[in-house]
Each structure stands twice: as C-alpha cells, then as structure tokens.
Point group: C2
Amino acid sequence: MDEDLAVATIRDVAEHTGLSPATVSRALSGHPYVDAQTRTRVLGAAQALDYRPNALARALRVRQTLTIGLIIPDIRNDFFAESATVLQGELEARGYRLILCISNGDPASDRNYVQTLAEHRVDGIVHVPCSPETDHAAQTRGRHIPVVELLRHTPDAPHDAIVSDDREGAAALTRHLTERGHRRIAMLTGSSALSTTRYRVEGYRDALRLAGIPPSEERVTFGSYGEDSGYAQTRAAFAGDLKPTAIFSSGSPLTSGAMRALGEMGLKIPRDVSVVGYEDPEWYAVCAPALTCYSLPLREMGRVAAELIVSRVTGEAAAPAVVRRFSGQLIVRASTAAV
Amino acid sequence: MDEDLAVATIRDVAEHTGLSPATVSRALSGHPYVDAQTRTRVLGAAQALDYRPNALARALRVRQTLTIGLIIPDIRNDFFAESATVLQGELEARGYRLILCISNGDPASDRNYVQTLAEHRVDGIVHVPCSPETDHAAQTRGRHIPVVELLRHTPDAPHDAIVSDDREGAAALTRHLTERGHRRIAMLTGSSALSTTRYRVEGYRDALRLAGIPPSEERVTFGSYGEDSGYAQTRAAFAGDLKPTAIFSSGSPLTSGAMRALGEMGLKIPRDVSVVGYEDPEWYAVCAPALTCYSLPLREMGRVAAELIVSRVTGEAAAPAVVRRFSGQLIVRASTAAV
DNA sequence: CTGAAAGCGCTAACAA
DNA sequence: TTGTTAGCGCTTTCAG
C-alpha cells in the first residue's frame, strides 16, 4: 500500500486504471465525451485510492477558486453573525464557498485580510470595513478582484455597497422617543469615522429638529462598538446634572454595557429611563423588559449581497457601482415609556 | 502598462529587474544569501508592479497552506462565536490563518466541509461536530490531516478533543436548584446524539440522585439547539398537571425560546419558575433578571485548541490522542430562588 | 551570491 | 473517445 504514504493524485488514478491523467480528469469532472464504462472504472479507482482532487492545483490551473472572502469586524456581534450566516447560505446555493475573516475592528488587520484574500485568489470579497482608510487596500485590489461593501460604506469608493438606511432608522427611533415627550436623549455610538455612525447621528439630529429640540441639547457621545464603551458612555451621560430620560444605543454591545451601567445606578427601564437600540439581536426580544428597536432585513440584504458579488465575479454586471440602501422597521416593545 | 492586464507574477518582477525568478523568490522570502542591494531592487520592483505572491502556487509547491479549517454548527451561537474568535486570535499569533465553515448543524454539510477542507489542503482541522457520524469522514482524512475536536467529542474517535466537563457542570447547576428545594426541574436539551447532551443529562441525573429524587421524577426533553425547540420544550414541560418549578436550559438559544414561552404563559422569573443555563453568553448578565449559569473558560479552551492543532500539524506532538476536559464555574445571579 | 531546470497536481488545446 | 503536451506560479536542488 505505497499509495498511503502520500495522498493519491490524479496520476495514481491514471496508472491504476491504465488511462491517461487527462481522461481521468475528464471522467471526474463530468466531461461529456467519456465512455460510460471508462467513467465507472475511474470512479471506482478514485474511491479505492481515496483520491481527493487537489483544489489548489486545480485553482492554479483554471484561475478561479469558487471562493468568496468575507471580512467582518466581530463575529460575536449578532448583526455581523447573522449577516455572515445568510451570506454563506446564499453563496453555497450558488456554488461558492465562503472564507470568513475576523478583523476585530482593527483597520490594520482589516487591510491585511484584504491582501491575504487577494493572495489566495478568492474570486470576490464581501467587506464590512472597520474604517474608511481600509478601503484604500480594497481599492488597489479592486482592479483585479470585485469587492462589495456590506453594512458600512466608504462614500466615494468605486465598488458596490449594501447598507441599511441608517439615517431613516435612527430618526425613527429618536422620533419614537420625542413623541413620548423625551427631550434629553443620550445617544451612544461607536467610532465617528464609520459611515453608519455618521448617518445614525444625522438621523438622530433630524428627529430632534423635527421635535423642536435645539442642537445645543443634543447628547451624542462617541466610542467603540464594545460593551465597555457602552458602559462608559452611559456612565458619562449620567454624570452631569440634567440626567437623560432616554438612551439611544447604536449597537447591541453598547446596549449590554448601558444596561449594566443602569443596573449599577439602580435605574429601572422604562420607569426611570427609556432605552432603544439600532438593530435587533435575538436577546432584545427576550430580555426583560424587551427592547424597542429598529430591525433590519438582514436576510434580504445578505441575499442581495450574494447576488451582487456573484454577478460581479462572473462579469455579468455592468461597470457602474451601485449602492443599495435597505429600510428596516421600528419594533416597539417594553423598554420605552412616556416621561 | 501591459502588466495591468493580468496580475503580476514573479516572472514579471524578474524581468523587470533583470534577475532570475529564483533570485526574486529568495529576495522576497528573506533567504539569507542575497545581496542587500539586489534585495532592495527586487522589493522596489515588486512594489512598483503591485506584485502579490500567488498563495495557491506557493502552497502547491511547498505542500503546506499555513491554514487551519474550523467547522462550527452555528456562528450566531455565542458559545461557538466566542470559541471561533479566540481560536482565530491564537492561530494568528502562531502564523496560521483560519478558514471558518458553518455547518448549520447539518451532518451532511458537516461531512462535506471536512472533505472540502481536505481538498483545499488545510494543514489541520478544528471541528465542532454536529453528530457522531460526521466523525467518519474526519477519521478517513485523519490519516493525512490532523483533526482536533472542540466542545463536542466523538467518544472513540482517534483524535484529540477539547471539551468542557459537561457532567460536572450540569450537576453543579442542578444541585444549585435542588439545594433551593426544587424537585420538578425540566431540562431542555438538544439532540441526544451529541456527547455534550448525553453528559449534561448524566450530570443532571447525578444531582437528582444526590438529592434523593427518584429517576421517575426526572424531566428531560430532547430537541435541537434552536430557539423554537426551546420554546416547544418549555411549552411541553408545562403541559401536564404537575408543573416544573425550575428550568435547566442546556444552551443559549434554548433559553431564548424558554423565556419567550414563559413570558407568554405569564410566568415570572424567579417568582414562578427558576431558570439556569449552561454556558454564559453576554446577554445572560444583562437581561432582567440576570441568569444563573455555568460559565466555561472559553479563552483557555481556545488557546489550548490552537496549541494542540499547531503541535499536531508541525508533528511535534506524539501519537496518542488526548482529551482535555475543562471545568467551568457556577455563576449565581437573579434568576433562581427557593421554591 | 545567482541562474537553470525541474516539478508540485491539475486541465485544456491539439492530435490521433 | 483518448493520449500527448504544455503550462498555471512558485520554490528548490544543483551548478556555477
């Protein structure tokens, strides 16, 4: 059993059947012009030798990997996890594999992954960028490999983007609060460099304006999209004299942190303070009180992202970059009350 | 700018510098015997041509990809997401890339991924199997490529495993309840085929026995590790006459489902029913009431998994398969009370 | 210190 | 219908 020392190659199968490697290759890949009997013989030998095609060699030769790379900042964030899951399913249905990279919100790592994926000759990249700079690298590679940005968008980047209508969503949440008499609304956010953050802040401002609350009374703080940042921003929001009556959390880890801080300060939701969140992770619905939030059509967005990247890869789609903006839905639950 | 039509190869760099591909390769990969000046020249040309080494070609030649595959059932489950994140960090620190595959809890897909990863010649596989059968495929490939099982273990598989001490953990949670006078404890679980499920049920039984509760009074139901299953199992648990006074949830999606069901039935935690959960996702601490649970040292487990797979890949480790079992910690919060 | 040559495993013309 | 040949882009002896 010499064949066991190394893994069997197409040559081994060829020798074992007395055929040429070319014929074996054809038989294995379902080429039309192969004798039925020959095919059976090849299949049998392949099985017997436990032959596995070397995807590396194949990709090198045919110049495509049938692989899409996905770069996300944090897999533990339901928002990204859900998106990744959807995308994976959609791509699989289209015959593509997904390789998932976690940038940890670090722009350097982000850039790094774009490069690595390019070196591995993935056919396309779906990218949730951590910072606008990252785009630079993507842009460079963009000449050779298609990129679709997901959830976040680098404004004047030359590639497609699938995003939520952050401005509208944030406005809807804020409006929900102002309509219930809230005027001192603390908004917790992540990095001000992200498109999502900026648009959400704008939406918040739109709604304040609409409610006749002057810009001087806005209460936005910036940080990162982490639990501790949510905690810190909440603590800071309650440090002054005029306490907020409501909190607008821009992301689910921020919400966790906020709730921890509120708990420590002995504040009850919604009696003492109302809370709303952007996005709708599973736990928002089950925690007590259940959270009022803005829910995004993640499934739909994932489907469109898959469609788009595949069409770019196969070259079907025409040149101009498209930006698809999806609206979500306000879900009113138990965490909000009138002042 | 002809070079722009296709991506630059090492040949292009060679021609551009008047050197041979061999020298360029050496310069690029930090080979010791290259003239310093030559190296500078090569680096410059590479940059100018926007050269990216083709990782496929390289891997084909050197017979290693520096890539580890990770197969998990569900990325949205905090338990797996956290493990994946830790593993990724640890591997990165060791110079390995991670490619993440999501099996959706489907054994066929699971098996499929083992095969795909093998075809892509990953150096090793870390595997959270969805069913004991899956192991079959892994075993086949195991002769050629090292496999480490994570979180779940296929009992007589020939490879390493990193698992939690499910039996002890489940017993600790159950004991916590029996010590508070609970006798009718509904245990919600996933598939009975999984090692984790079986061990946790055993731990539950151990604790009942210790508390003098006869086996006839045990209340274990099986399902899947999904939200709806948690909901259904909870509904079923409360269908009979003698309602449970406590719920033991074996996984966080089950807990979501259970809380939804309890909410619908108008039951308050912990007044009407106590709830404990295996594992400790972030939201257990922030939801109200915060959940009593058993927290696993996921960071440590991820670190050890990375260490183990790397040592297997580099052939340092000796043959015999090891099973490392980690203990967690009971965290008492607000969701449990005396009957 | 550098170059020539061979080959990793596969597929796609082109011939037969 | 099958075999021959060449080559994807890279690294690595072996000579110089």
